[in-house]
């Protein structure tokens, strides 16, 4: 008896020492890919050209106006979309949701279309604001609808979200069709960083800022992830944290949308993979998700630039293919064990 009370809780041994290894690997990959991203492109920007570049060389100019902005934009978009996925998953307590499977992306796209139609001369800030407001509305509608669904089955929740997105998406397509904007819609919603350069990507910093905010509020999201009652019992203002999460998700979705278009699957795949590696503690997993998301999009963007050199193929195609494969793998391995 006394033994039971006085015995010290065993000091937690690092359960899986290989995690550190994976962390180092992610860091190294990130550095390698960043360097590759800076030096891969149509023009000749190589370290050699930078050093020896005479007055005729554009290397330094291109590095500053094109390569660095593009790399930064990809990093921020990749990192933040993973976080947006994580937060949605915490809010809904479901592993299969992300802005793309909950209708948030479709709502934000509708917002973009509406701002294009009604205020065509509006600067990009304005469009982003409209898209963000619609994204927020989308998150809210989704949360309301999910609450109304009686059965909280794992697959049912994203299914509801996908249906919601389908309805909103078809409204968008209908109006785009009537207004002859279908091809424009297709062009700007297709994910691609080809047009990213200085002066064209700065909004994605907002998404980057949201990653930091999410990190500060990480513990709250972890608690929210345990359910409303639990969170309230711990003295947390449930609604305020949910509202914060919604704002983060909407701002990330909208700023990535106006910068590069829709990047599918990311918010789904990355948080799930990270959860397999280090578990569900949001504070610990946020840097991992940011890093892995950045690596994923960066690698895909480099592939997009290289496959049809000197032309580019849309990034969303590559992310879609690789993302879908990883997602299937996640689904299938799930069957083997209860995760």
């Amino acid at each position: 008896m006394t033994d039971l009370l006085t015995r010290r809780t065993p000091t937690p041994v690092p359960a899986r020492p290989w995690r550190t290894g994976v962390g180092v690997l992610i860091g190294a990959l990130l550095v390698i890919l960043c360097v590759a991203s800076l030096f891969i492109g149509v023009s000749d920007v190589s370290p050699l050209a930078l050093i020896t570049g005479g007055p005729g060389s554009d290397a330094a100019f291109l590095l500053v106006t094109s390569r660095i902005p593009r790399t930064v934009a990809v990093l921020l978009a990749g990192a933040s979309l993973g976080i947006a996925g994580l937060i949605m998953q915490m809010l809904v307590r479901n592993r299969f949701v992300e802005p793309g499977t909950t209708g948030v992306t479709e709502f934000a796209t509708l917002g973009m279309l509406i701002s294009t139609v009604f205020w065509p001369g509006m600067p990009v800030v304005g469009k982003m604001a409209v898209a963000a407001v619609f994204g927020l509305l989308g998150t809210w509608v989704f949360l309301r609808v999910v609450r109304a669904v009686p059965v909280r089955q794992l697959v049912l929740v994203p299914l509801v979200g996908i249906m919601l997105g389908g309805v909103v998406g078809s409204v968008t397509v209908f109006f785009a069709y009537r207004l002859d904007l279908l091809q424009s819609l297709g062009q700007w919603s297709q994910g691609s960083f080809a047009q990213v350069m200085q002066g064209r990507y700065e909004f994605v910093w907002i998404a980057g800022a949201m990653v930091v905010v999410a990190w500060f509020a990480a513990d709250r999201f972890s608690v929210i992830g345990m359910g409303e009652d639990f969170a309230t019992n711990l003295g947390l203002d449930y609604r305020r944290v949910v509202a914060l999460g919604m704002v983060i998700v909407a701002l990330i979705t909208a700023s990535v949308l106006v910068t590069s278009g829709v990047i599918p699957f990311l918010g789904l795949v990355v948080p799930n993979v990270v959860s397999l590696i280090i578990g569900d503690n949001a504070r610990r997993s946020i840097p991992w998700i940011a890093g892995l998301g950045a690596i994923f999009v960066l690698a895909c963007d480099i592939i997009a630039r290289v496959v049809r050199f000197p032309y580019e193929i849309p990034l969303s195609v590559i992310v879609g293919i690789i993302g879908a494969a990883v997602f299937l793998w996640l689904l299938l391995r799930r069957r083997g064990r209860a995760h």
Binding site: G41, D44, F61, L62, P120, L181, S184, L185, M197, P314
Partner: protein, 338 residues
């Protein structure tokens, strides 16, 4: 019984008309001036794609007899609308929302709406009893439905742009009894195109660029065979003789996505820009000029020497192929001659 088998009826009419046409063309040969030929019908043949949308294309030689001097013409193809109007015909029905401003004058005062460039309002067309329907390009798939209502011809591009322009203009001239006007107009345009080619021959390299939704697409030459919707991208090279800065762009309908860096690296002397969003009436804040107004494009020869040429988006993207429109296109190219 006759109503149930309109195709059979139609072919019967066609055969009898063919006989008549045969007779009258003999008359013409005997006569002195072509314009007086009072042929009652003109035949038009083309290879019609009978496959469904998602099937491999299969072509069937199709010949349709068209009455001459039709009074009630329905046109889905903007290029044909342009040519019919330029030759003095009047259009009774068209997809009114798609008729560009500069072709509005060719519509009858009480012109009725026939649908969109892609879809037909069959009930309205049936009610209006047209005696000729012209389709082409975007509306080519409407043949089966429309040919039940009235003689329908598909004037889609077949062969090169110039071959098509010549074929369609001559055919429509014959239908409207305006062979001489057609011949004059064609000669004028050919001279204009030759002028434009002379100008572009000395202008160095060029790149056709379509700007849409804030993204850049490089256009490719389509060679001698402009059949299909690739045509418009290559017109600047194929018809107006611009030397392409790169040859191997795949002729995707809307070109190949490229970055601003691509423009700097290839560095064409001229950029020929079609603003797709302007063509469909969106005055997007990210219109072509805004997209191209960036630090990288500013470094290109085309920008430094003020050689970024805006092409009339409606003419180059929507209509391309009609008489008035071809003149607009020639004028666009001749801009650089000063």
């Amino acid at each position: 019984m006759i109503l149930q088998r309109p195709l059979a009826t139609l072919s019967f009419v066609a055969v009898s008309a063919l006989v008549l046409a045969g007779c009258s063309s003999t008359d013409t040969a005997a006569g002195t001036t072509g314009d007086e030929a009072a042929a009652e019908s003109v035949s038009f043949s083309w290879d019609r794609n009978t496959a469904d949308e998602d099937e491999e294309a299969t072509y069937e030689a199709t010949t349709v007899e068209v009455p001459t001097d039709p009074q009630n013409i329905v046109v889905f193809d903007m290029a044909s609308l342009d040519t019919i109007g330029a030759l003095g015909g009047e259009i009774a029905g068209a997809p009114l929302d798609s008729v560009p401003d500069y072709l509005q004058a060719y519509l009858a005062d009480d012109a009725f709406n026939v649908g969109t460039l892609f879809e037909a309002d069959l009930i309205e067309i049936e009610a209006q009893q047209p005696d000729l329907i012209v389709i082409g390009g975007r509306s080519a798939a409407l043949y089966d439905d429309l040919s039940q209502i009235a003689p329908t011809v598909d004037l889609s591009i077949s062969g090169s742009f110039l071959e098509t322009l010549e074929r369609n203009t001559e055919f429509l001239g014959e239908v409207l009894g305006a062979q001489n006007e057609a011949a004059t107009a064609l000669a004028d345009l050919e001279a204009g195109i030759a002028d434009a080619q002379a100008v572009t021959a000395d202008a160095g390299t060029g790149l056709g660029l379509m700007v849409s939704g804030g993204k850049l697409n490089a256009m490719a030459p389509s060679g001698d065979d402009a059949t299909g919707r690739n045509a418009r991208g290559g017109l600047i090279y194929d018809v107006f003789g611009v030397t392409p800065v790169v040859e191997d762009i795949e002729s995707a309908t809307h070109g190949e996505p490229v970055s601003s860096e691509f423009l700097l690296e290839q560095n064409p002397d001229y950029l020929w820009v079609v603003d797709r969003d302007a063509a469909t009436g969106t005055e997007d804040a990210q219109a072509a000029a805004a997209v191209l107004d960036n630090e990288i494009v500013k470094q290109t020869t085309a920008a430094e020497q003020d050689q970024i040429v805006s092409l009339n988006p409606t003419a180059w993207y929507i209509v391309f192929g009609g008489l008035t429109t071809t003149q607009l296109m020639i004028d666009d190219v001749l801009q650089i001659a000063e």
